[in-house]
């Protein structure tokens, strides 16, 4: 894929709407499948992006996702204006969760969101300011 063939996609993630969580991941998965991307890469993208979407719904008042598909791979930028992450090291530890009981009842809050995102990306940067918001940039080779 030539550099000028970069595909850019934008998704809005609604606040506190579990019924729409996963729409961006599903749409992107479908597009990558049509492009003939390997199932292994698609699975990594699906896991990382779905976890990101859920985190935005649960913790961050929603936000938006920008995806950029190029010859090098997939870049995902997840941006929200939520409360921010107080301790990023703690937040990326498996099992740590600040999810509320209501969220846990839906099957979330296992404390595996950020760890799953880290595990399924080739590069991931978390920029977060408490009271301002969080931007997570992920890169997955394809």
């Amino acid at each position: 894929m030539a550099a000028d063939n970069t595909i850019k996609l934008h998704y809005d993630v609604p606040n506190d709407d579990f019924t729409r969580a996963g729409e961006a991941s599903s749409d992107l998965k479908g597009k990558l499948k049509q492009m003939g991307i390997s199932p292994d890469a698609i699975r990594k993208v699906s896991i990382a992006l779905y976890e990101g979407e859920i985190n935005m719904v649960i913790h961050a008042n929603g936000g938006y996702i920008d995806a950029e598909i190029s010859e090098n791979g997939l870049k995902l930028v997840l941006c929200d204006t939520g409360p921010g992450i107080n301790d990023i090291v703690q937040a990326t530890q498996a099992g740590f969760s600040t999810a509320l009981e209501q969220t846990r009842m839906l099957g979330f809050g296992a404390g595996m969101g950020l760890p799953n995102m880290l595990q399924n990306t080739d590069d991931m940067i978390i920029d977060s300011i408490v009271g301002v918001g969080t931007t997570i940039t992920m890169f997955i080779k394809m």
Binding site: T19, R43, I47, I54, L106, G107, A110, N116
Partner: protein
């Protein structure tokens, strides 16, 4: 074992048939925590769970499982039932406990 063979075995109630009934069921997965299911459920498995909400369908689709089996008499909530129409996945329901339902599928896969 294919999805069609599991349907024809009449062990579970078939709530929804996906479009590819010849798809293989190559293993089993049990878990109700969706983040764990998302990352650990093997492609083409039968996912046996008691989590019957709309996010179960999202995870099942994204993790590319062959089918979902709702155990313990659990049924989808209203939002999931509406979404099910637009989701291309086979879903079974059963009154059996998770272990018993899983064992039935395991025995069929390994028969």
């Amino acid at each position: 074992m294919t999805i069609k063979e599991l349907i024809n075995a009449n062990i579970f109630n078939t709530l929804k048939e996906g479009s590819d009934l010849n798809r293989e069921i190559s293993g089993l997965f049990n878990c109700d925590l969706l983040s764990i299911a998302m990352s650990k459920a093997p492609t083409d498995c039968a996912w046996v769970t008691v989590m019957g909400n709309i996010n179960t369908l999202a995870v099942a689709t994204l993790a590319d499982v062959s089918c979902v089996i709702l155990a313990e008499g659990v049924f989808f909530d209203d939002a999931a039932t509406i979404r099910l129409d637009a989701t291309d996945i086979t879903v079974f329901t059963t009154e059996m406990p998770v272990f018993e339902a899983s064992l039935k599928v395991y025995e069929m896969i390994n028969a």
